[in-house]
Symmetry: C2
Subunit: 152 residues, 2 copies
DNA sequence: TAAAATCCCTAGTAAATTAGTTGTCTTACG
DNA sequence: CGTAAGACAACTAATTTACTAGGGATTTTA
C-alpha cells in the first residue's frame, strides 16, 4: 500500500511548480535542490509529467519546467497516475485492462471497489492549488512542529 | 499503491474461515486449494495471522485453522495490518515510528493525511463478516459475470 | 503403537520493482 | 562560441515480493 518515492518526489516538485506558477520556468537544479535529491532522478519523473502534458519545458539558459495549466485545474489524481502508472490498489479495479480471471467470484472484490472509490474521490477532488496554498500558509504562519518529527 | 498478494491471499483465506466459522477448523490444503496457491506460501501468511491472534490452530489429523473471534467483530483493518505490516501509505502518517525529518514542512503531507484517514475509515468499518456475507449471497444468486472478466 | 494428517519453523532463492547513477546529446541564450 | 539548461538511454544496486524446500513437532486414528 505504500506510495513510491517517485510519487512523493514528483508530487512535491509539482507543488513547487505550482507555487512558482506564472513566474517563469524553474530549473531542475532548483527543483531537485528543494528536496535534496539528485537531478538525474527527478528529471526522469519530470519527463513522465511532460509526456502526460502536466508540465512544459523551456530549454537553454534561464529555462526549466513550468505547469501547463493553472494549479487549480490540476488534480492530484492526474499527477499520481502519471508518476505511479496507475492509482489502482489492485489491477482488477483499475480502469485499464486487468488479468484476473476470477474477479466475478472474488470474495474481497467488494472491499477493493469500495476502497478504490474512496481513494479516487480524494485524489480527484484535491487540486495541486490546494496543497500549494496550504503549504504557503503554513510556512507564513510558522506553525511549530509538535511531536511530528520526533523519532520513536 | 498496490496491495500485495500477501494481503489478497491472506484476506481471502480469512473470508473462507469466516464462512466456515463455528464449523470446526479448516485445513491448509483446503484453504490453499480454494485459491489455487501453494500451501507453503499461504502457511506463512496464516502464521502471521496467528501471531496477531486473528486465527487459531488445531494440530494433528482433522486439525486446521479457525478464526479466534466472530467475523462480525473482525475488521479488515486488523487483518491487513498483520499481512501488510502496516496500512500506512507513507511512513510519516502511520501510527508507528517514522523517520521523515521534514514531516512538518512537507508540502504533500495534508494530502497524505486526508487520504490515510479515508482509507482507515473504510478498513476499520468493514468487517470480515460483511465480506463473507456478500460473497455467500452473490454465489447463491448466481450473479452472472458482466464484462468484468473480459480481458482487454 | 505406528502411520498419517496436520501445523511449525527456518532458510534459501528467483523475479520484479524501486531507486537511483552515468554519460552523451540537443537546444537556446548572451 | 561557450555555457546553461533540458532530452534521452542505458546501466546498476538495493530492496521487496513471491515464492520453494525441507525437516520438525504434535495429534488423531487405524
Amino acid at each position: 500500500m505504500k506510495l513510491s518515492t517517485r510519487s512523493r518526489y514528483g508530487l512535491k516538485a509539482v507543488i513547487d511548480l505550482a507555487i512558482a506558477y506564472g513566474a517563469g520556468p524553474v530549473s531542475l537544479p532548483v527543483l531537485a535542490g528543494s528536496q535534496g535529491i539528485s537531478e538525474g532522478y527527478l528529471e526522469q519523473l519530470l519527463r513522465e509529467l511532460k509526456k502526460g502534458n502536466v508540465v512544459d519545458t523551456v530549454r537553454g539558459a534561464q529555462g526549466g519546467y513550468e505547469l501547463t495549466c493553472d494549479p487549480a485545474e490540476l488534480s492530484v489524481q492526474r499527477v499520481l497516475n502519471l508518476l505511479e502508472g496507475s492509482t489502482a490498489i489492485v489491477d482488477c479495479v483499475g480502469t485499464l485492462h486487468h488479468n484476473c480471471t476470477s474477479a466475478c467470484s472474488c470474495s474481497a472484490r467488494p472491499l477493493f471497489l469500495k476502497l478504490q472509490t474512496r481513494i479516487n474521490d480524494v485524489l480527484a477532488r484535491t487540486t495541486i492549488r490546494e496543497l500549494a496554498d496550504d503549504y504557503v500558509q503554513q510556512k507564513a504562519r510558522g506553525i511549530p512542529c509538535k511531536n511530528i518529527c520526533e523519532k520513536a
